[in-house]
């Protein structure tokens, strides 16, 4: 499939790369860069680094829980581990990764030379980076590393009043607050940047309704970032005021309200899930059409469904709070709004199937990850509907069933989507193909590990195992399931190691990709791989949703049908 020549001849501009330069100079260039591609890669690698750190934390927890009454780690360390795991994965792994992908691809996909605000972009990245460093400095900044320091141990949603000075002595919670506060500034900057870029920087002919699906999903994501990071920042500031200036917002011992914190946190927390999953949906919506050789089925309704998910996601937050004793009317409202979000999500799943239907499907590693993500989204959506029914949630909320449900979304859809993106766009980023044999090993091992871990994790939840317990008695009947769950982790770790090896090896030894190895249709494939600093020598003119299809098939272009 790999075309030796880019599809748009005038765009072939030789790379003006010099020979070898001193390492210091290269590092300096990366640190001061304002180029969206470099920042995108930095965001992505930073996220992967934290993905590995968070994964190590998860592995230690699974080792601790593998057998009953285990003493591998103390309860204090276990509580720090799950707090750091959750915080790391959401704020310093998943968000930087989706921001990285959005940063790298948005200008390329809409025919722009860079983001709207390149310097703000760099500032946003470095804020996020600083936030992560501050969070992890708590391990040594508290009481030193001995016994794993005093990292935050209040859970990733840090319910009041556990965070008040009476229950959280020392500074670990402060590291948590300030780390998230600062990375939140970075997120808002990036959200604003993506939004502005999409609205103002589109190339000639790139109307809103011609944008690739990924760009649409990223702009809804950016919109959500702008709306919901604010409440989180406000809550963090109020908590700081409580802790240091004698405020009583959440300080229940002085008449504050623990429930207000929950509202603030989940008004951020639930849309946050969609901030992470929408870009993954976008990736699936790019990869599946290309490897089915068909355009996305029902573009308009896909966009409408995306916007609907964005809106509805703002009104579902209290389904995290079904057990706090809201009135029956409030509970019923949040059941309705939460169940409603299944409709646009269902439309998306059907449209992906519709895209594959009647196509000619090639199972590259990228496609395998995307297809698995669709099936897993189906499963995650259905357990989501079950949990949306409040009476069901009264039983299974805060149990391992919920843990299994949201890991199905976060790993099964988001991480699978990210791996799919990594295989799909790696040739564009590096100019070389990733090894498909290693890729298939990665896929199948990861798929097996994922299902062994998270399918079986539903069961101890149904048997009554709550989350966040560092150990349990053998008599509860949870042990065998926990052991199976922990064994799955081994497969996942192996798979990720293979992937990392593949990424590094392919960079040096991979087959040369050419500009358009997948015979794809969106604008990023019209420029060289890797793209030059200015992306496009001449801004391409777009006449339909698949500009490269039009060029490749002048006898049957898309714009005839729009």
């Amino acid at each position: 499939m790999a075309d030796a020549q880019p599809i748009v001849p005038p765009l072939v501009i030789p790379q003006d790369r010099e020979g070898s330069r001193p390492l210091v100079q290269v590092l300096h260039e990366w640190i001061v860069t304002v180029d969206h591609k470099r920042l995108g890669l930095m965001y992505f690698s930073y996220g992967i680094l934290f993905l590995v750190i968070g994964g190590i934390e998860a592995s230690i927890m699974r080792a601790q829980l593998a057998v009953a009454n285990n003493n591998l780690v103390s309860p204090e360390v276990f509580n720090r581990l799950f707090t750091m795991h959750g915080t790391t994965m959401i704020f310093f792994a998943a968000m930087p990764i989706v921001f990285g992908i959005a940063n790298y691809l948005t200008p390329l996909m809409i025919g722009a030379r860079d983001m709207a605000f390149p310097r703000l972009n760099a500032w946003g990245f470095w804020m996020t980076a600083l936030g992560g460093i501050i969070l992890y400095f708590s391990f040594i900044g508290g009481f030193g590393l001995y016994g794993a320091g005093s990292a935050p141990d209040v859970g990733w949603f840090a319910y009041a009043p556990l965070t008040s000075p009476a229950f959280s002595v020392g500074h670990s919670t402060d590291y948590w607050i300030i780390g998230l506060l600062i990375s939140g500034f970075g997120s808002i900057a990036t959200g604003l940047n993506i939004m502005t870029t999409v609205l103002c920087m589109r190339g000639p002919g790139m109307k809103l309704n011609r944008m690739p699906m990924l760009v649409w999903l990223n702009s809804v994501m950016a919109f959500l970032v702008l709306l919901v990071i604010g409440p989180l920042t406000a809550a963090q500031l109020m908590l700081l005021i409580d802790r240091y200036l004698g405020g009583h917002f959440f300080d229940t011992q002085a008449g504050g309200s623990a429930v207000i914190w929950m509202h603030f946190f989940w008004i951020f927390g639930h849309p946050e899930v969609y901030i992470l999953v929408l870009p993954a949906f976008g990736i699936l919506s790019e990869v599946i059409p290309v490897f089915s050789r068909k355009p996305i089925f029902g573009y308009n309704i896909m966009v409408a469904a995306t916007v609907a998910i964005g809106f509805i996601s703002m009104s579902v937050w209290a389904h995290h709070m079904f057990t706090v004793g809201m009135t029956s009317y409030a509970n019923a409202f949040f059941v309705a709004s939460t169940a409603a979000i299944a409709v646009p999500t269902g439309i998306k799943i059907f449209n992906w199937v519709g895209t594959m239907w009647g196509g000619k499907i090639t199972f590259t590693t990228a496609m395998l990850f995307s297809v698995a993500a669709v099936a897993q989204m189906l499963m995650a959506g259905l357990t989501g509907i079950m949990l949306a029914a409040a009476p069901f949630d009264w039983q299974l909320g805060n149990s391992y069933f919920v843990i299994a449900h949201f890991h199905y979304v976060i790993l099964g859809v988001i991480v699978f989507g990210v791996f799919s993106a990594a295989y799909y766009w790696y040739p564009k980023v590096t100019g070389r193909m990733m090894n498909e044999t290693l890729g298939k090993w990665h896929f199948w091992l990861f798929l097996i590990g994922f299902h062994v871990t998270f399918d079986f994790m539903h069961i101890p939840g149904i048997l009554g195992m709550p989350r966040r317990i560092y150990t349990y008695e053998a008599s509860r009947g949870w042990e065998i399931w926990n052991l199976i769950v922990s064994v799955g982790v081994i497969f996942q770790v192996l798979a990720v190691l293979i992937w990392v090896f593949n990424v590094i090896r392919s960079y040096f030894k991979g087959k040369i990709a050419g500009s358009d190895p997948w015979d794809a249709w969106t604008l990023e494939w019209s420029t060289t791989s890797p793209p030059p600093d200015y992306n496009f020598a001449e801004l391409p003119v777009v006449r339909s949703r698949r500009p490269l299809w039009d060029l490749k098939h002048p006898e049957d272009p898309d714009w005839k049908y729009e």
Binding site: Y299, V335, W394
Partner: protein, 292 residues
């Protein structure tokens, strides 16, 4: 649940079918398949059908929510006030005027003469959640807030649950034991719990240890000068099957270990080791063992 399983089977088979049927075959040439952009009828269908399913799910859920949250109570309902502490449970029976800890006794209910138990949920410190999976869904115990729930067990037995909202270091060992008794057994238990503590001269030495150390600051033993509220009420300690909120069986060995070094049983719990000498520990345990 059944609806979800049905949806899963249908949609999953659609995915598998389209993957198998439309995979690229070796015999295929390089031509592109027919380019289909969408279909309004099909898309309308898979919008409307999920909307209907969602409506059904919502109505079913709303009915159960109403039945559970807005339930009227018969006059012979047992009233209990449960207060969550780091990391144990306090149970008050206001109608009978006594307090106990960690093991909740309720009478079994039968359909002709229902005797549900209505539980008021409070918290003394952080958030907790009352969850005995076989008896009811969970409801949180939140400081500065009065929540409520009810249980109506129809079978006699011992039901185990635990705190389901992360509340601090020993969240894991904050077990809930609910003993569902026959009405006769329940009345007998109530009569016993209403009595003040057994006073026996044989264990006077142990009582002195209890009352001259910090023990009495945190624990109540009804009928003595010990009135602490920070830890569990010990008036009828030996009527309970476990100590440390379900962390260990209530035996002499465990009590001794618990008094000597609470962290050995429940690391991170709030009871301090009092550094008593061997003789005092033995006297104290003898006193505790007398609290039937």
């Amino acid at each position: 649940m059944a609806i979800c399983l049905g949806i899963f089977l249908v949609v999953f088979s659609l995915i598998v079918y389209s993957l198998v049927r439309y995979r690229k075959k070796a015999t295929d040439d390089d031509s592109e398949p027919p380019q289909i952009y969408g279909s309004n009828q099909v898309e309308l269908a898979w919008t409307v059908i999920p909307v209907l399913i969602v409506a059904v799910v919502f109505l079913a859920a709303a009915r159960v929510i109403h039945a559970v949250e807005d339930k009227p109570f018969p006059p012979n309902t047992i009233e209990v006030t449960a207060t969550g502490h780091q990391f144990w449970w306090e149970f008050q029976y206001p109608a009978y005027g006594f307090t106990t800890a960690n093991e909740l006794h309720v009478p079994v209910s039968d359909r002709s003469h229902p005797t549900p138990t209505h539980i008021i949920l409070l918290s003394a410190d952080t958030d907790h959640s009352f969850w005995v999976p076989q008896l009811a869904g969970k409801v949180d115990l939140i400081p500065n807030r009065r929540n409520e729930m009810w249980i109506e067990p129809l079978d006699v037995g011992h039901y185990v649950g635990q705190c389901a909202q992360y509340c601090g270091t020993q969240h894991a060992k904050m077990l809930l034991n609910v003993m569902v008794d026959t009405p006769e057994d329940f009345q007998k238990w109530v009569q016993q719990q209403k009595e003040p503590a057994v006073m026996s001269d044989q264990v006077a030495a142990g009582r002195k240890v209890f009352e001259t150390n910090a023990c009495m600051n945190c624990h109540t033993i009804a009928g003595t000068i010990s009135h602490g509220r920070f830890g569990p009420d010990l008036t009828h300690l030996m009527s309970r099957t476990t100590i440390a909120s379900g962390a260990a069986p209530n035996t002499q060995d465990n009590l001794t270990l618990w008094v000597k070094d609470p962290d050995a049983i429940k690391p991170g719990c709030l009871m301090p080791a009092m550094q008593l000498d061997e003789q005092s520990v033995n006297a104290l345990v003898a006193y505790l063992m007398s609290l039937h």
